[in-house]
């Protein structure tokens, strides 16, 4: 049976792991390679490394970090943050990344997802969407780490990207991110039902029950979280045992 995936996300700034609360107020939580290897040993199913300060000058630092990660970690990992071209992706994949995630650049350049899928295959192209539910009840796409609003709805953008070749959707609810009040179950289940590719839910996981909900009610294929793992509020082994007790298939 294909299992539901638990994915710790490591936000990287200057080679260190950080986590923003609602994308602000960054706190340091350690060395990415060490932390990633620890999560892998504890039973994490995949890892996501998100370079939140990705700039052209930092590109080399990131590819060196990716190279170090791929030497030390024996589970799949995704790298994201500031990726905007086929060349960027080529360097990261050559350094051992299994998948890359694109966000703002894919929205601004509609050919990017298709180019990446053609060049490297859909299996390594993850489309990350930051979305916020507004007072009209609809979920709008935000860019630039949540700073820039668009008029596009999350489902519409996700469909377009999947048609262009995105192999997975990483969906972050800005309303829920950092709140520890639970994942956004409605938009997650809406996308999971609408799309033929896996949906990774992100933002809001605070208790083990929240993970049960996102897999059952939210129909997510995978759930991603950061600070609750970094600050040891929930351990991956206990989370997986809990999910198994609730009859959710997980790898133990």
């Amino acid at each position: 049976m294909l299992t539901k995936r638990i994915i710790p996300c490591l936000d990287i700034k200057d080679g260190r792991t950080v986590k923003g609360i609602n994308f602000e107020n960054i706190r340091d939580a350690g060395d990415p390679v060490e932390l990633g290897a620890l999560y892998a040993a504890q039973g994490a199913d995949e890892l996501v490394f998100l370079d939140i300060t990705a700039t052209v000058e930092k590109r080399k630092t990131l590819s060196e970090l990716v190279n170090r990660i791929s030497h030390h970690i024996n589970i799949p990992f995704t790298v994201g943050g500031g990726i905007s071209s086929v060349e960027d992706v080529s360097v990261l994949l050559q350094n051992g990344a299994d998948k890359i995630s694109v966000n703002t650049a894919a929205y601004k350049n509609p050919a990017l997802v298709a180019d990446l899928a053609r060049e490297f295959g859909s299996q390594c192209v993850v489309l990350a969407i930051d979305t916020r539910q507004e007072t009209d009840g609809r979920w709008y796409v935000y860019l630039n780490g949540g700073r820039t609003r668009t008029e596009t709805l999350a489902e519409e953008w996700a469909r377009q990207a999947v048609d262009a070749g995105a192999g997975e959707i990483l969906l972050t609810s800005m309303n829920h991110d950092g709140t520890k009040a639970g994942f956004a179950l409605d938009i997650t289940s809406q996308l999971a039902a609408a799309l033929p590719v896996p949906v990774i839910a992100s933002g809001g996981g605070g208790t083990m029950e929240h993970f049960v909900d996102v897999f059952t009610k939210g129909k997510a294929d995978a759930a991603l979280a950061a600070s609750i793992f970094h600050f040891k509020e929930i351990g991956i082994p206990e989370l997986k045992s809990f999910l198994q007790e609730k009859n959710i298939d997980v790898r133990i």
């Binding site: 299992t3 539901k4 995936r5 024996n74 799949p76 295959g121 590719v197």
Partner: protein, 196 residues
């Protein structure tokens, strides 16, 4: 021991190389006929599309070379599929080592995603490739095409239906999952191949 990885237009060669490094094994990545022919063991990796990969292999005459290898060969993911007789992916004739055919996952259930992405269990383990690997161990899979069940299966997995997640015939082995990304279980399988 000389371990060679077939160099061709496939995506996960580096991951395989690093995974071997982690278990203390050095390998060379080459498309040189002499080097591949004289290696003690050969790994044939692969992430990509079947017809493009076969065209590339033929162009460099690696297709005949691989067929004629007599040392242990391990195909991974697309590498395993290319060792089969035929793939539905762009109607591609493959290398024909394994009689099994490669088909595309089909479902009408909107909750089932294609490709299969993630950890699934392997069972019916019947080869020294799986020494020390427990029945129903989890491995990491990413694929839209699968090898049907058949006489050469040494492991099976279920996704939509049962299929061959590992194959073995003579000196040829194939695994659909990615041992290089399958944590301790994958490392054990790679070690077992090295020790065959």
């Amino acid at each position: 021991m000389k371990l060679a990885i077939v160099k061709y237009n496939a995506g996960n060669i580096r991951s395989v190389l690093y995974a071997l490094e982690r278990i203390g094994v050095e390998a060379i990545v080459t498309d040189d006929h002499e080097q591949l022919g004289s290696a003690d063991k050969v790994i044939f990796p692969g992430v990509g599309e079947a017809s493009t990969a076969m065209a590339y292999l033929k162009e460099r005459r690696l297709d005949n070379l691989i067929r004629e290898l007599r040392q242990p060969v391990l195909g991974i993911c697309l590498g395993m599929q290319l060792l089969c007789s035929h793939s539905e992916e762009n109607n591609t004739n493959c290398l024909g080592i394994f009689e099994e055919k490669v088909m595309r996952f089909k479902t009408t259930d909107p909750e089932i995603k294609i490709p299969q992405v993630g950890w699934n269990n392997i069972y019916g383990l019947g080869s020294s490739l799986f020494n020390g690997v427990a029945e129903n161990s989890y491995c990491y899979f990413v694929h839209s095409y699968y090898a049907e069940t058949g006489p050469n299966a040494i492991a099976s997995t279920e996704y939509i239906q049962a299929y061959s997640s590992a194959l073995h015939k003579n000196n040829f082995y194939g695994v659909q999952f990615h041992p290089e990304k399958s944590a301790a279980v994958g490392e054990r399988i790679l070690k077992n191949f090295i020790e065959l």
